[in-house]
């Protein structure tokens, strides 16, 4: 079974994946384009998502070996840094974090990740709009009648395309805020 889905929020993604697993599936492959492959199984599985910044080849091996020793299977990682997908059979220890300090550090890493992406996307959008605005055709707004509508309709799909990075920046901004909320909640408790 293949499912296609797009997530900007790592915790929502984790939740969705576990909902699929609870229906008696296990995840076999995740592609970068958001295509998740599942297969039927009679064992119960759980999935946990971790975020790691850039890890050198050696550190990455070390990281993987340790998780694998605990029974986790690496479904997908990202290079140079990014989300790591870990799956294992349902058991006594189903979490990848067992104390508050490490969970807090995880939220801190997530905050760095989503704010970084957000800033890069905003800079990129600024470059797109700096010279021309959303609509690029010169004199579009001074055209009249049919000519204006033709030019306007022609231009609109491009304008929408140019807005994609801004939307993505907003989504990542929201997930930054969510990670921040979780982080400060853990701090207060």
């Amino acid at each position: 079974m293949k499912k296609c889905k797009l997530f900007f929020d790592i915790e929502k993604e984790e939740q969705w994946l576990n909902e699929q697993l609870q229906k008696g599936y296990r995840c076999t492959h995740i592609s970068g384009l958001g295509i998740y492959t599942f297969e039927k199984t009679d064992k119960r599985n759980v999935m946990r998502l971790d975020y790691q910044d850039y890890l050198s080849k050696k550190k990455r091996d070390n990281y993987k070996v340790l998780y694998e020793d605990f029974g986790w299977n690496h479904i997908k990682g990202s290079w140079p840094g990014g989300i790591h997908y870990w799956q294992k059979e349902d058991g006594e220890q189903n979490d990848i974090f067992s104390d508050r300090q490490s969970r807090n550090n995880y939220y801190k890493r997530l905050m760095g990740y989503s704010s970084g992406l957000s800033i890069v996307l905003l800079l990129f959008s600024y470059m797109l709009f700096k010279d021309s605005g959303v609509y690029a055709t010169e004199g579009l707004w001074s055209m009249e009648g049919v000519l204006f509508w033709k030019a306007f309709l022609f231009e609109t799909p491009f304008a929408l395309l140019k807005l994609i990075p801004v939307c993505m920046a907003v989504f990542y901004g929201v997930s930054y805020y969510k990670a921040y909320q979780k982080y400060s909640m853990l701090k207060e408790k």
Binding site: L66, Y67, D69, F70, S98, S102
Partner: protein
């Protein structure tokens, strides 16, 4: 100012104590489960982060490899930290005992 890992968290404390002998990551978790009488069971991500952190501060160091696994051990600096924590905890323990204000406890 105090070091940011001090006073030691339960996780860090147990890892330093376990690594008075050379062990790889998973063996650290098993050792801790044993010496804590099954009360502290570390998860993979917690152990990974803690080992990285302790290594970064020079309190533990890799001393070899067992297959693909790195083997760690506490350093001289790490031992000094344990000594300091021991006297801090001994002092706190002494406060539990013999004070007149908590006779009813």
């Amino acid at each position: 100012m105090k070091h940011k890992l001090l006073p030691l968290s339960e996780t860090m404390h147990y890892i330093l104590l376990a690594l008075r002998e050379p062990l790889h990551g998973y063996a650290v978790m098993q050792k801790i489960e044993e010496i804590s009488n099954g009360t502290v069971i570390l998860a993979a991500g917690t152990l990974y982060g803690a080992i990285e952190n302790l290594n970064k501060h020079g309190w533990i160091e890799p001393v070899g490899e067992s297959g693909r696994r790195k083997v760690y051990m506490v350093t001289a600096e790490g031992k000094t930290i344990l000594k300091k924590e021991q006297s801090r905890l001994l002092h706190i323990l002494s406060l539990y005992e013999g004070s007149e204000s908590n006779e009813e406890m």
